[in-house]
Amino acid sequence: MPPFFLYVINIMFEALFAALATIISGQSIFFLILGVLIGLVVGVIPGFGGTVGLSLLLPFVFGMEPVSGIAMMMGLLSVVATSDTFPAVLIGVPGSVSAQATVMDGFPLAKKGQAARALSAAFFSSLFGGLFGAVLLTMVIQIAKPIILAFGTGEMLMLAIFGISVVGTLTGSSIFKGLVAACLGMIIGCIGISPASSEYRLDFSTILEVQNPIVMYLGGGIHLMVVAIAIFAFPEIVELLRSNKAVSEKAELEKSGWFKGLRDFLSNKFLVLRCSFIGSLIGLIPGIGGSCIDWISYSHAKTTVKNNENFGKGDIRGVIGPESSSNSKEGGALIPTLLFGIPGSGGTAILMGGLILLGVDPGITMVDTQLDLIYTIIWSLAVANIFGAIICVAMAKPISQLTTINFTILAPFLISLILFAIFNSTRSWGDLIFATFIGVIAVYMKRFDYSRVALMIGFVLSDSIETYLYQTMQFYTFSELFIRPIFLVLILVSAFSIYSGIKIINKKDKIANTKSDVLNAKSRPQWVFLILLSIISVYTVFVTDHLQYLGKIFPISVGLFMFLFCIIIGIQMFISKSGSKVFHDAENLILGNTEIRSQWLTIFWFISPLFLSVFIGFYISIGLFVFIFLSKIARASFRFSLISSIGVWIALAAISHFMIMDFPPGILQGYIELPWPIN
């Protein structure tokens, strides 16, 4: 090797280890651990992610010594994607955006009494992913520029299409139901300002007055967490409440939980490696967003492993895959942030704001002039991941005990937590109203086997597909596109993904046709639901028709396709015998079971605190709800109910204070001036 290179490498390593010394000595390590602890808490609370957590830290970061400030922010950012697995596995609610796919198999594992195993396998994968991201960041930060710039809008469009193509591999037994769900997701994604023409779409402004609160709310679009929680958590909780049991179907949890998780991790090391790579690579490209990475790696795990029949029913590999990528993406996303000052994810966007407050300017010159700070960031990422994983693994087993408690006792706390998480999305009444609406649709989607994942993916990618499709057409001609190698590779990847999707569906077809548990008792609810979906599609077409060409072409196409798929399902239902899989109705599985509560009753419980809030405000109503629910429905002792509701009140007051957040007021607050926090 020429001496010059040796010299360069020598310098690099020197800087690398000097940075490590700065991190672990002095007060920085204290701030790092503080950041890790806050990050763990933020990750566990559904609705709070790295974005919210970091914005909480910003006021404190201001004026801190740069290395300590960086250590604290990185500590937080690195562990959110680790601890958000807790609620995903234990209660089926993603703790933040990056745990969406973990729910798919993590929660069924918890139902089998294997929560500790799922959690620890997830933490080890997450740890590895985080370290992988840090190593990759170290290696490529100096040479990544051409890689990032090679991904133009055409490539991003293909990545988004690839994201949509995984729907096939993840959808339920009916491909058309999956497609309808994906279209519905895209329609929900179209709500708000159109990217190409800056017009308001689907905000009911054609029916209501423009300054109506509903129109104003929808003008801003529906927040990702609102959809994610409504779609996944709402139906699960309703179902658990109906059955009046604990999450875990076994009273005794399986022994040696975390050791088993480690073994699972080790025996799937190549899967972990591949998914970590996917996560970092997609994280590296700014513009595609971290929210579909989970699904891509989940789909990757499902299509590349042997014996994938149990995916979605509790396969540990369905947890390992997305968890490896969800943490490795942060390392990837840091590269464009530091290199160009263009953040690759929501979390890194705020991190950049924080770095600027610290007087550190991420950008092209940083690699040349402040390499030591970049290494500080990298080491903080690595060290924080290790701390975070150790703490999480240690807590996995005790926390798993939660799954053995009767769900009716847990429900009021969870419902409060979820309503709070939804409200925190944009802090508006609209969040709660639309989450409820989407949640009720999701309950029926689950019942009739319309893929909720497909809806989520459609929603997440809706904006990317529309924007990049339009921009690609403006920037490139066809012949220019087809000489771009990455574009062509991505076409092949998408084609392969569609092919494996068809294969999986065919396999499912065979299984579904041999099973008899899909017998339909009555088909009317199915028809009602299908007609409702068709109405949504027709409505979309009609109310977007008056917009400019660029504003309407996407929603109208999606609406028409959705209508077409609805008709196909209708025809299938019309010609099929009763008992055919198109009539799948999960309700039949529990029919005749007298212990089951009515569906609408549980939905009513879920939204009753909201009704109450209309009159007395959100804050009072939540505590009251906890009390009434515990004492009347869960039949807990008066003392326990009272202490619980006071506990919830104190927790909410603390959050309101620290997050500078007002809860939605009710009619009462409109008439009487009340003191904080009930005002």
């Binding site: 970091l54 800056s198 003008g219 092209i364 921009q471």
Partner: protein, 353 residues
Amino acid sequence: MLKKVLAVFAASLFSVTAALAVDYSGKTVTMWIPFKAGGGSDTWARAIGPAFSANLPGNPTVVVKNVTDGKAIGASNKYFAEHGKDKDGMVVFGTSGSVQMPFIFKDERVRYQYKNMVPIFASGTGGVVYVRKDMGVTDIIKDFDKLKGQKLVYGSQGKTSLDAVPILAFDMLGLPVNVVYGMKGRKAGRAAILRGETTIDYQTTASYLKHVKPLVEKGEMVAVMTWGAPSGGEVSRDPNFPDLPAFPEVYEAVTGNKFKGTEAKSWTALFYAGFATQKYVMLPKSAKRDVVKAWQNAAAAIVNDPAAMKVLNKKLGKYDQVTGSKALKSALKKATSIDSKSEKFLQSWKDTK
């Protein structure tokens, strides 16, 4: 003479007592920011928050409250609905160009009125237009015809956003720029020109200095003009970039017309709203006079304190900070009021492709 001195003394005494009458000690003052945490306006608010805390009577805690309910317009409406009649100055409003632009373009959703506001403090910025090196342009005026013949593509967030300033400027110059919409912010626009998908772009001063200037020095990009800076009622060269012509100058040189008339007036209004004085701290008009005075004094104290300004400049880039009742009022008027002819022009311009 003695009379004069006494009068000044009495006046200063009066203003001191007036300021003393407002006392925020032990209180928490909220800055209502209609944007999410971590963005430009949020960073700005968090930087000036402590400075206000140090200079307001009683040194209150100043906290930033990010209100995102209904995006910038909705959150601004909400401020006016909830605090539009406040007297005590406990909740102040922080706006930015994205709040002013829909107001100028008469978005139906806007329910706020700038005439009901009292400006306390304003920060401005500038913008630099640059092109890719392969356009072969070094001086926009001399090489104008060459530039006109190139494939010009600009990545935009939308015509009624801050991008109205560049898009109208390109139109006025007669540059055949293909505007591609759907960019998520100026950062995405910068990414697109780095990839070579767009060929002409602008960045605000702070972002230009950080991210584009190094590229200009390396010879990958060429800076061609600035939007200018306000000086004495005119828009002239930006003092941060004395070597670059300002847009009005380029317009006059290239078209041979004076920078006058409806188009020029409309552009100037947009420029004031989006750049020259784009971020304001404001109080509702209902605020007590003492309260307004206390805030204005605090703002003046911040600007006059070199240590505080050094911190601000370091965190935010060197922007003009406007204080003082008169200067602010005229700036706000320029940024938010527009004659009916220009308004009509902008309305029809908005709807053309």
